[in-house]
C-alpha cells in the first residue's frame, strides 16, 4: 500500500548530464572469424552429436535459402526471404532451449525451426501454399508455424510478437513447468512501440522470456545508423531494469552459451533477459529487394569474411568431428532432399475452397457459410476463372 520505489535518492549538488553513451556493452565472442578459439575462452559443453546437429541444420538452411531464392527467381514460388549470414544466431539460440520452450519468430529464423525438426516437406508445403501447408496456404511464403514443434506461426506486422511473448511466458510461469519463451526480432522492429511495451511489461511482471534481437544492421534499406542513435539495442535493457547480453551473432558457440545462460536466468530466477546478436544481413531483405541500391560491395565483402558457417566448419574439422568430404557430402544430401521435396510440393493441389471460411472463428458462422455457398455457385458458373479450386467444387 505504499510506493517503495527503488529510484535512487542519491543526491548530487552539481548538475550532472548523463551522456548518451553512458552504457557501452562489449560483444561476447568465443570463436574467431577463422574458427579458432579466442585466447582464454571457454567453450560451452557441446558434445559431438549436438555440434553436428547444429552444423547440419546450418548447412541445410544455407542450401534451402539458396535453392528457394532461385526457385523464386524461376517463378516457382512468389516470394522468399533468406537468412544468409544469420544462421548461427537462430540455430545457436534454438539449440540452447528445451524443446518445450516456445519460440516466436520474426521471419528470418528458419534455422530455429529446422533445428526443432520442421521437415523439408513441411517447409516446401508452406512455401508452395499447398493443401498440406499447416497454415492452409493463407499466408505468404516463410510464414511458418507449427504447434507440435512449439514454434508460433509468423506474422508480418513487425514487433507484435514481442509483448505476445511476454504474455505467453506469463502463462508458462503460472503453469510452473519450468518452460520459457524466446522471441526473435530485428534491430529495426525494436523501434516499434510494441518492443517498449513487451520489455517493460516483462521486467515488471518477472516472466521467463528471452528477447533475442538479431542486429543485422539493416531494416530493408535503412541502416542501423538511421534506426537509432545509441549503442545498439542491448543498452535499452538497463532502462527497464533488465539484464542484457551482447553476443557475436556469427559465433554459434557464443550464441549458444549466451542463450543457455539467459535461459537459466529466465527459468530459475524468473527474470527476462535481452540478448543482442551482432550480425549482418548478407542477402537482400527478400526476393523483392536489391541491396546494391543502398550499400557498398566493400561492406558486403567485409562481412563475408565474418560469416558464421565457415567458422564453425573450420572448428569442426580441426576438432576432427567432421571432414571436408563429409561436410560436402552432407550438403549434397540436403540438396537432393530439397530438390525432391520441391518437385513434390509443386504438384500438391491448393487447399480446397471450403477452407476459405474455416478458422475465422472456431466454427463458421451463418454469414460465412452463406458467403461460401454463393462463392461456390459462382465458381460453378465460371470454373475457368478459378482454376485452383474449381475442380474441388461439385
Amino acid at each position: 500500500m505504499a510506493n517503495k520505489a527503488a529510484t535512487t535518492n542519491n543526491i548530487v549538488t552539481q548538475l550532472e548530464v548523463i551522456p548518451g553513451d553512458a552504457i557501452k556493452i562489449p560483444t561476447f565472442q568465443l570463436l574467431k572469424e577463422d574458427g579458432t578459439v579466442n585466447k582464454g575462452a571457454k567453450l560451452p559443453e557441446i558434445d559431438k552429436e549436438l555440434a553436428l546437429k547444429m552444423f547440419s541444420t546450418m548447412q541445410f538452411i544455407r542450401l534451402l535459402d539458396e535453392r528457394m531464392f532461385a526457385a523464386q527467381r524461376q517463378g516457382r514460388i512468389s516470394f522468399y526471404l533468406s537468412s544468409l549470414g544469420e544462421e548461427a544466431a537462430s540455430i545457436g539460440s534454438a539449440a540452447a532451449l528445451k524443446f518445450e520452450d516456445m519460440i516466436m519468430g520474426q521471419y528470418r529464423e528458419q534455422g530455429a525451426l529446422a533445428y526443432r525438426g520442421f521437415t523439408v516437406e513441411q517447409f516446401m508445403d508452406q512455401l508452395f501454399s499447398n493443401e498440406k501447408d499447416l497454415g492452409k496456404g493463407r499466408q505468404m511464403p516463410v510464414h511458418y508455424g507449427c504447434a507440435a514443434l512449439n514454434f508460433m506461426t509468423i506474422s508480418s506486422p513487425l514487433g507484435t510478437q514481442i509483448p505476445q511473448a511476454t504474455g505467453y511466458a506469463y502463462g508458462q510461469k503460472q503453469d510452473g513447468k519450468g518452460e520459457c519463451t524466446l522471441v526473435y526480432f530485428g534491430e529495426g522492429a525494436a523501434s516499434e512501440g510494441d518492443f517498449h511495451a513487451g520489455l517493460n511489461m516483462a521486467a515488471v511482471s518477472k516472466v521467463p522470456v528471452i528477447f533475442f534481437c538479431r542486429n543485422n544492421r539493416y531494416a530493408i534499406s535503412t541502416p542501423s545508423t538511421e534506426q537509432f542513435a545509441g549503442d545498439g539495442i542491448a543498452p535499452r535493457a538497463a532502462g527497464y531494469g533488465m539484464k542484457a547480453i551482447r553476443v557475436d551473432g556469427n559465433d554459434i558457440f557464443a550464441v549458444y552459451a549466451a542463450t543457455k545462460e539467459a535461459r537459466r536466468i529466465a527459468v530459475e530466477e524468473n527474470e527476462p533477459v535481452l540478448i543482442e546478436a551482432m550480425s549482418y544481413r548478407m542477402a537482400g531483405h527478400s526476393t523483392s529487394d536489391d541491396p546494391t541500391g543502398y550499400r557498398t560491395k566493400e561492406e558486403e565483402e567485409e562481412w563475408r569474411g565474418k560469416e558464421p558457417m565457415i567458422r564453425f566448419r573450420n572448428w569442426l574439422i580441426k576438432k576432427g568431428w567432421i571432414t571436408e568430404e563429409e561436410a560436402d557430402a552432407q550438403m549434397a544430401e540436403h540438396k537432393k532432399a530439397v530438390l525432391a521435396e520441391l518437385k513434390k510440393a509443386e504438384q500438391v493441389p491448393a487447399p480446397h475452397v471450403d477452407e476459405i471460411i474455416e478458422d475465422v472463428y472456431d466454427t463458421p458462422p451463418e454469414h460465412l457459410k452463406k458467403q461460401l455457398e454463393a462463392l461456390k455457385e459462382h465458381i460453378r458458373k465460371y470454373p475457368e476463372a478459378y482454376p485452383a479450386t474449381s475442380k474441388g467444387v461439385k
Binding site: 500500500m1 516456445m102 501447408d133 499447416l134 497454415g135 492452409k136 493463407r138 499466408q139 510464414h143 508455424g145 507449427c146 504447434a147 508460433m152 506461426t153 506474422s155 506486422p157 507484435t160 514481442i162 509483448p163 505476445q164 511473448a165 511476454t166 504474455g167 505467453y168 511466458a169 506469463y170 502463462g171 508458462q172 503460472q174 519463451t181 512501440g193 510494441d194 517498449h196 511495451a197 513487451g198 517493460n200 511489461m201 515488471v204 511482471s205 474455416e358 478458422d359 475465422v360 472463428y361 472456431d362 458462422p365 451463418e366 454469414h367
Partner: protein
C-alpha cells in the same frame, strides 16, 4: 437472485469466471488492488491473488499484446482497457493480431480465450476522450466478436459467455449505466447467447433497433410514440459481430419500417451496415427508407453534449419521419 447494478453484475461475472477456471486472469490499468477506476474488478485481487488480477504498466498496445500471448498459451485473459477512447493504441494488436491469429496459422494457434473489456459511450460529461462509442471501428474485422450489454442481467450472462467462448471477444460496457442500471441478477453462473439479438418488445408498425445504453433511449422514444398510437417493436442487437441479421430482417418484414438509434457519429457507425443489409434483404417489404438517428459527424463535444447526442427526442422524431414517409 440479487439486485445488482451493471458494475456489480460485471464484477460478479468476473468472480464466477475466476472461481471456475484458474487460467482466467484479469489485468489492465488500475484493475489490481484499487479495483479499477470504475471498481469493476473490486475485491478480485484480494480474493484470487496478485498473479491472477494485476495492474499493468500504462500501455494499451502492450495490454492487448500480452493478452494475445497469454491466450495463445491456453489462458483466458480478461484485459481491461480503461476507456474505449484509449483502445486505439491497441488497434493493431486487436485487428491485425487477435482477429487473424487462428486463420493465419491454419488453426495451429488461436487466442480464443481472450476477452477485452472496455467502458464506452457518452453522457458523463467526458468530452472527446471519455465518451466515444468505437464499436464500428472494430466491426470491419472478421475473426472478432463484439458484444454490448444493455443492463445488469445481460452484462453478467453475456460476459460469462464471452470469457469462455472459443473466440476472442471485445466486450463493450455502457459506462453511463454502470451505476444507473439496476436489476435482478442470479448470483450463480449463467450464460446468454452471443450473436443473437433480443426482441425487447413486440410491435407491428415500426422496428426500432439499438444496442447497449441506447436501448434505454429507444424505450423512452417508443413510449412517446405509443402515446401517438404507434406500435413499435424494439430490438436490442446485443452482438455487433457477428450480428443477428435474421431476427432483424424478420421483424422488418413484419413492420415494414426500421429506425436505428446509435450514439456514434453518423457516418460509418454500425447502423450503416444494418441499413445496407436490411435494405437488401427486406427491399420489397420496406415502406419507408431505413432511418438512422446518430451522433453528429464531429468529435464528441463537451459543452454541446446534449445537442450532439442522439437522444430520445431525436429518436422519436426519426420514428415519426419513418411512419409519415
Amino acid at each position: 437472485m440479487a439486485k445488482m447494478n451493471l458494475l456489480q453484475a460485471i464484477n460478479s461475472a468476473l468472480d464466477v469466471a475466476m472461481a471456475k477456471n484458474n487460467k482466467v486472469c484479469i489485468f489492465g490499468e488500475d484493475v489490481g488492488h484499487f479495483g479499477g477506476v470504475f471498481r469493476a474488478t473490486s475485491g478480485l485481487q484480494e480474493k484470487y491473488g496478485r498473479d491472477r488480477c494485476f495492474n499493468t504498466p500504462l500501455v494499451e498496445q502492450g495490454i492487448a499484446g500480452f493478452a494475445n500471448g497469454l491466450a495463445a498459451q491456453g489462458g483466458f485473459p480478461i484485459a481491461e482497457i480503461q476507456f474505449g477512447d484509449y483502445i486505439f493504441p491497441a488497434f493493431d494488436q486487436i485487428v491485425n493480431e487477435t482477429a487473424k491469429f487462428r486463420y493465419r496459422s491454419g488453426n495451429e494457434f488461436n487466442v480464443g480465450g481472450l476477452t477485452i473489456r472496455t467502458p464506452y459511450g457518452g453522457g458523463i460529461h467526458g468530452g472527446h476522450y471519455h465518451s466515444q462509442s468505437p464499436e464500428a471501428y472494430f466491426a470491419h474485422t472478421p475473426g472478432l466478436k463484439i458484444v454490448v450489454p444493455r443492463n445488469p442481467y445481460q452484462a453478467k450472462g453475456l460476459l460469462l459467455s464471452s470469457i469462455f467462448d472459443p473466440n476472442p471477444v471485445l466486450f463493450m460496457e455502457p459506462k453511463r449505466l454502470y451505476r444507473a442500471a439496476v436489476g435482478d441478477v442470479p448470483e450463480e453462473e449463467y450464460t446468454l447467447p452471443l450473436g443473437k439479438a433480443e426482441v425487447v418488445k413486440e410491435g407491428t408498425d415500426v422496428t426500432v433497433l439499438g444496442w447497449g445504453a441506447q436501448v434505454e433511449v429507444i424505450e423512452k422514444a417508443v413510449e412517446m410514440a405509443e402515446k401517438d398510437g404507434v406500435s413499435a417493436e424494439i430490438i436490442d442487437l446485443r452482438s455487433i459481430l457477428p450480428w443477428d441479421v435474421e431476427t432483424v430482417a424478420k421483424s422488418v418484414m413484419k413492420t415494414g419500417r426500421l429506425v436505428i438509434s446509435q450514439e456514434a457519429p453518423h457516418t460509418m457507425a454500425f447502423g450503416s451496415e444494418v441499413a445496407a443489409t436490411i435494405q437488401d434483404q427486406c427491399f420489397l417489404y420496406l415502406e419507408a427508407p431505413i432511418m438512422r438517428a446518430s451522433g453528429l459527424d464531429t468529435p464528441y463535444p463537451l459543452a454541446h453534449e446534449k445537442e450532439y447526442f442522439s437522444d430520445h427526442l431525436k429518436t422519436y422524431e426519426a420514428i415519426k419521419r419513418s411512419l409519415n414517409y
